[in-house]
């Protein structure tokens, strides 16, 4: 089996994915080392106030607190499932905070951190995972589309939306989120082709958390993902996804380029899914505990905390206050979730169309009548 055997010898697309050594990746953009030390990058600088830095920390910490609470609520049967973002907070908060109010983001199902930065009420996200609705927020008002579960489908929506932005003559940008696994979907590649062809103001933000459920990134790509973009004719960059500052800087620059008509950019945020794929998953079946241990050393929150402490930008009181805020948030999420009312059954008929059909109206009427017939019995 010549070919088959040799196939195993192709270059590792994720230098150090198994045993990661991030600082050795020459292409990786970093502004904060895993130890929390601020470093400079020739192409990306970040002008950021202490207030903003503390704000980022607060975002990261609260989003994680929410995530932990959601996982607990799922375990207690209050959610059907939960897709944890543990480990990806910096990638999401950095990307989300790079957006302007008039920009539009297209998330997958894991972008709770981005949702947070866009002002989505966590309870609306909880509602989706509880099975109450599909996420009740207003995408247009918040500049944050509904979660999209079919892998990659949202990348085309983002590109089309960006084509609309172009036609409106608006100076806004669009941010499409996707995972490493999603890069294998035909639709995602079509999105990049359309984006390139129309020079659409869209940025593809790929969180390479190195797994698509159990499948490691090596199965999706044999070279680093950010290189994909050059093949389509636009820039690709790889940023340390656990470095919120670098993510913010790189995403800001890409969005600004998009707004200025320079077309799309592909950002690979190199990170790691520290939890299970979802609460239904069992990662012990497919990855070693040691891998996780290594990545704990690059925890995105610890990293910023170290920087803030060391540089004196934040003190213990600040961290305590964020902790307290987190507990409040968690309590609110818990209470809101367990008390969340079930939807009206007739709702399923009411939003299928903008203009209801007589057929469906009749089904609805029968449904109501049928259920009324039980009223007496129960």
């Amino acid at each position: 089996m010549t070919a088959l055997r040799q196939a195993a010898e192709v270059v590792d697309p994720v230098p150090g994915a198994g045993a990661p050594h991030l600082p050795q990746q020459p292409d990786l953009i970093q502004l904060l080392t895993p130890e929390g030390e601020r470093v400079e990058h020739p192409d990306y600088s970040l002008d950021i106030s202490d207030d903003e830095l503390r704000g980022l920390y607060r975002d990261l910490a609260l989003v994680r607190r929410w995530d932990v609470e959601a996982t607990a609520l799922q375990r207690q049967g209050e959610l059907g499932i939960w897709a944890s973002l543990l480990g990806q907070e910096a990638a999401q908060v950095g990307a989300g905070r790079a957006l302007r109010a008039d920009d539009m983001a297209f998330p997958t199902y894991r972008e709770h951190g981005v949702a947070w930065t866009r002002g989505v009420d966590p309870l609306q996200v909880m509602g989706l995972f509880r099975g109450v609705d599909n996420g009740g927020w207003d995408p247009a008002a918040l500049g944050f589309n509904l979660y999209t579960i079919v892998i990659g489908a949202q990348c085309l929506h983002a590109t089309g939306y960006a084509m609309g932005v172009q036609r409106d003559g608006a100076e806004s940008a669009v941010l499409a989120f996707l995972g490493d696994g999603a890069t294998s979907q035909g639709e995602v590649n079509e999105a990049m082709i359309f984006a390139a062809s129309f020079a659409a103001p869209v940025v593809f933000f790929c969180q390479n958390n190195q797994y698509a459920i159990s499948v490691p990134i090596e199965r999706q790509a044999r070279v680093p993902l950010f290189k994909r973009a050059a093949g389509f004719g636009f820039p690709g960059v790889r940023v340390d996804g656990n470095d919120v500052l670098a993510v913010l800087a790189v995403t800001r620059a890409a969005l600004q380029a998009a707004r200025e008509g320079q077309g799309p950019t592909f950002i690979e945020a190199f990170t790691y899914r520290m939890g299970a794929h979802t609460t239904s998953d069992d990662p012990t079946r497919y990855r070693l505990a040691s891998e996780l241990e290594e990545w704990k050393l690059r925890d995105p929150i610890a990293r910023l905390k170290a920087h803030l402490s060391r540089s004196g930008i934040a003190d213990a009181a600040f961290f305590d206050s964020v902790d307290a805020e987190g507990d409040e948030l968690a309590a609110r999420i818990r209470q809101g979730t367990v008390e969340m009312p079930d939807p009206e059954p007739t709702e399923m008929f009411d939003h299928v169309f903008a203009e209801q059909t007589p057929e469906l109206a009749a089904q609805r009427a029968e449904f109501v009548e049928y259920h009324a017939s039980f009223e007496g019995e129960k």
């Binding site: 995408p139 509904l146 084509m163 609309g164 035909g186 359309f194 203009e355």
Partner: protein
């Protein structure tokens, strides 16, 4: 002022009118610009409305529909041309999981006023994949509406009504009838989009058809008349939702019904229509609703398409069988 138009030209003028009426209307598709589409339905529109509104896309149907979704979210009204029926399937995921569901997913916050124009059906002597009748796939999908036009008047008004409609519509154009002509009065009051219509009265058997088969049904009715049989012909016009009240009214009178379409019989529209008629007119039926359609085979090479497609004789044969019950 009334003029004689082919279905193709009526669609072209209807699209033009829709674009004039609403600057948010955009056309997207393969070869729809300079070429005017392989059937010339968009002829001249890019020249007059520009490349931003008449967009020649890359060759990727999922891309067309997926970007249309995004454009709709941004307030545009994309009209997507699928070059031939057989090439809609790469876009199937976007149509079924996104276009059809986003209104419901968002509880109405994200309307999807997208029109998917598909020249459909056989009879043009084409190679594989150019003669499909995929309407049942869409009619079975909750969240989509599906219409099929059969004549220039419905083509002219229907495309405008579809574009103005707030929900996603699969708009089926009977490609082998593109050159059929009729008088179109643009100032007339159009019939509503989602209504079927009795187009020939008769008391013996009710014959239902839509799109290209309407002409076939009418031909059958002519031939039957010569033998003294009065067929009532109904142009369904809307495939989803179905508008069957006029059908029930008719079948209660005739007691017999034949449904005709090009798509394979199994799980074709005839199945649904037969089931509903039976549910609603059970005691009036003198015979089961009979179905005339394509066989349950892939569409054959064109030298065999005349054997595959329902024609006048097969409709009459079903009429005979119905009367013989």
């Amino acid at each position: 002022m009334s003029q004689t138009l082919t279905i193709g030209k009526a669609l072209n003028l209807g699209l033009r009118k829709a674009m004039e009426d609403d600057p948010k209307v955009m056309l997207m598709g393969e070869d729809i610009g300079k070429l005017g589409g392989v059937f010339r339905i968009t002829d001249g529109l890019q020249k007059d409305f520009g490349e931003d509104r008449v967009v020649d896309t890359p060759l990727a149907e999922a891309g067309i529909l997926g970007t249309a979704v995004g454009l709709a979210m941004r307030g545009y009204r994309p009209v997507c041309e699928i070059q031939f029926d057989g090439f809609v399937f790469p876009a199937y995921n976007q149509i079924v999981t996104q276009v059809a569901k986003i209104h419901a997913r968002s509880k109405g916050k994200l309307p999807m006023p997208i029109v998917i124009r598909i020249p459909f059906g056989g009879g043009i002597g084409a190679v594989e994949h150019h003669s499909e009748s995929p309407e049942a796939y869409f009619a079975h999908t909750a969240g989509l509406k599906v219409v099929a036009v059969s004549n220039p008047v419905d083509a002219y008004f229907g495309i405008q009504q579809a574009i103005a409609h707030p929900d996603p519509i699969v708009f089926l154009e009977p490609k082998r009838r593109y050159w059929e002509k009729a008088q179109v009065d643009p100032d007339a009051t159009p019939e509503p989009l989602f209504r079927s219509r009795v187009i020939r009265g008769g008391d013996d058997v009710t014959v239902l058809a839509y799109g290209p088969m309407v002409k076939t049904a009418l031909q059958a009715a002519e031939a039957a008349a010569e033998e003294g049989r009065a067929l009532e012909v109904i142009d369904l016009r809307t495939v989803s939702p179905l508008d069957l009240d006029p059908v029930y009214e008719s079948v209660r009178r005739t007691g017999r019904c034949v449904v005709v379409h090009e798509a394979p019989v199994t799980l074709g529209l005839g199945a649904e229509i037969a089931a509903r008629i039976t549910e609603n007119c059970f005691h009036s039926l003198e015979a089961p609703v009979l179905r005339v359609g394509g066989y349950d085979t892939p569409y054959p090479p064109s030298k065999l398409e005349e054997e595959y497609l329902p024609d006048l004789d097969r409709v009459l044969d079903a009429v005979d069988r119905s009367l013989g019950f």
